[in-house]
């Protein structure tokens, strides 16, 4: 069993000083990011100060999970056991502003991927890692006109 889990180990997340609280919130199923209480901007990845105004007055707040696809790719080579080809990577602009790389689960867009509205879901990988991913928001699913 250990070997099986090891074989599909999710590539580990970078754990800088400010990443821990974000990953804890992801495991709890409500992703939080730091909002600057001085200028109101949210940042991703998490960091020590607000890069917009340099304030240290940051507060962890849940994000809406809404976003829009700004780009996408499909890997046709397997580099990692956890990610057999083909698999996609999407870049999503979160409603709160920051960009985030992730994967699109389930149905793929019937028309253009770019511009498709998405919402965040929490996926549990085979090794137990919880990842924030996206599915198409209802309005852009392939089946609807």
């Amino acid at each position: 069993m250990t070997d099986v889990v090891e074989a599909v180990r999710t590539p580990p997340a970078v754990m800088g000083l400010y990443d821990g609280p974000m990953w804890a919130s992801i495991r709890e199923g409500t992703m939080r990011l730091q909002r600057c209480l001085n200028c109101g901007e949210m940042q991703y990845p998490p960091g020590p100060v607000c890069p917009h105004c340099l304030s240290s007055n940051l507060e962890w707040q849940p994000i809406s999970g809404r976003g829009t696809i700004v780009s996408w790719v499909v890997y046709h080579r397997t580099y990692l056991a956890a990610y057999p080809e083909p698999y996609n990577v999407v870049a999503v602009k979160l409603a709160e502003g920051p960009f985030m790389a992730s994967n699109l689960e389930g149905e793929t867009p019937a028309q253009s991927w770019i511009g498709a509205p998405v919402r965040m879901v929490y996926s549990t990988m085979l090794d137990g890692t919880v990842l924030p991913r996206f599915t198409l928001a209802a309005t852009s699913a392939g089946k609807t006109p």
Partner: protein
């Protein structure tokens, strides 16, 4: 966005005009890329990064007519330690540094002009292929840095290729560019490399070959990727005064510029919104002002091409064609042999060898000297080299 609407508050002036033509490249050399490609493919390890650097340095010294004792400065490329490289080359420099291809040239100019050193060797050696260095996958670059393809590894985004595939996907959507039109880059560069005895891939390809090749990271196909290889490259930079006394025609550094877009870099925002164009435009503004001329006067363009994607982005960003006109430029102007704008005349990273921008510098020198035989660009007077690796846009204009 035009250069008159500069987005940078601290736009700055171009580097002092006194640096223009203050220094010249007087010697170039490289290791046996073709031979070592065959040997590493057969499982051999012909040398290590220091050894490849030493071979290239020996060649560059011979090319310049200088002796090793004339060298009083050394810049080591990114894959070798500076102190050990000095030791291997038998040099005690009075000035030294470590830098990538294009920044090493700029650092050498400033060192030479300010008198920190007079004659500087720039030496790159890399055993990336035989050492199985990964530029993607879980071990890439040590796996623990805030490089975007490390930060996004939990989602399987673990390669530089995927980052440029994401950029290209967004750019082609915005421009209405057909994905297969990117094939013009690989086809043109292979046409150039077919005339380059130092290139490891010399078989011409067609647009059909391009389209029929598999996707690696869609929308990028096999021929959009560079040729990772072992090897070394060396250049010797000295003062204009000393250069004039040497045997080969000096190739002067006429202008340069730089702008880095680091804000939002990990989240990929700058590569997906404006595709690094603000950095390229500001870099271009500085380089052209310092050089005293612009894209219309360039006889050739060398673009850092880990992936073919860099070429269309550079054409827009450095003012060679209008936004949205790259497709027409490829079809009607041409970038291959006989085209209006020769690009990557050695075959570049896609076809000659992936020397992380270093081989592009010596191709500029050889074209400006008129040493390129069958692939020689007629009456080549000005060559523009540019790299925009992950939002760090740097340009050098080389002139006779």
């Amino acid at each position: 966005m035009s250069s008159s609407a500069n987005p940078f508050v601290n736009a700055g002036r171009p580097a002092s005009s006194r640096l223009s033509r203050a220094a010249a490249i007087v010697g170039v050399g490289h290791s046996d890329w073709v031979g070592d490609w065959k040997r590493t493919r057969a499982g051999e390890k012909p040398s290590d990064g220091y050894g490849y650097g030493a071979i290239a340095f020996r060649e560059a010294l011979a090319d310049s007519g200088l002796k090793r004792d004339d060298i009083d400065g050394l810049i080591a490329g990114p894959a070798t330690a500076y102190e050990r490289l000095s030791e291997v080359l038998g040099i005690d420099p009075r000035w030294g540094d470590q830098a990538d291809a294009v920044l090493s040239v700029i650092k050498a100019i400033t060192a030479v002009e300010s008198g920190l050193a007079e004659t500087i060797a720039l030496v790159y050696g890399n055993d990336q292929r035989s050492a199985k260095i990964q530029y993607g996958g879980p071990q890439a670059m040590g796996g623990d840095a805030f490089l975007s393809y490390v930060y996004h590894a939990p989602w399987g985004l673990t390669s530089q290729g995927a980052l440029y595939a994401l950029t290209f996907q967004a750019w082609k959507h915005a421009r209405g560019f057909e994905g297969d039109d990117l094939g013009y880059v690989a086809v043109a560069q292979r046409a150039w490399s077919s005339m380059n005895p130092n290139a490891i891939q010399r078989k011409r390809i067609t647009l059909d070959d391009y389209r029929n090749a598999p996707y690696i990271c869609e929308p990028l196909r096999l021929f959009d990727y560079c040729q990772i290889n072992d090897g070394g490259v060396a250049l010797i930079v000295t003062t204009a005064e000393r250069a004039a006394r040497l045997g080969k025609p000096p190739v002067y550094i006429q202008g340069f510029g730089r702008r880095d877009l680091n804000q939002g870099a990990t989240s990929l925002e700058p590569r997906l919104t404006d595709y690094y164009r603000p950095a390229q435009e500001d870099c271009a503004r500085q380089a052209y002002e310092m050089a005293g001329f612009g894209p219309a006067d360039m006889d050739m363009l060398q673009v850092y091409d880990s992936f073919s994607v860099h070429v269309p982005l550079a054409l827009e960003g450095y003012g060679y064609c209008k936004i949205g006109e790259v497709r027409r430029f490829f079809r009607e102007q041409g970038i291959g042999p006989g085209g209006k704008l020769p690009i990557n005349t050695s075959g570049g990273h896609l076809s000659e060898t992936y020397m992380q921008g270093w081989a592009h510098q010596i191709e500029c020198v050889r074209q400006l000297r008129g040493e390129c035989g069958e692939r020689q660009v007629p009456n080549c007077r000005h060559a523009h080299y540019t790299s925009d690796v992950c939002g760090n846009a740097v340009s050098i204009v080389y002139s006779r």
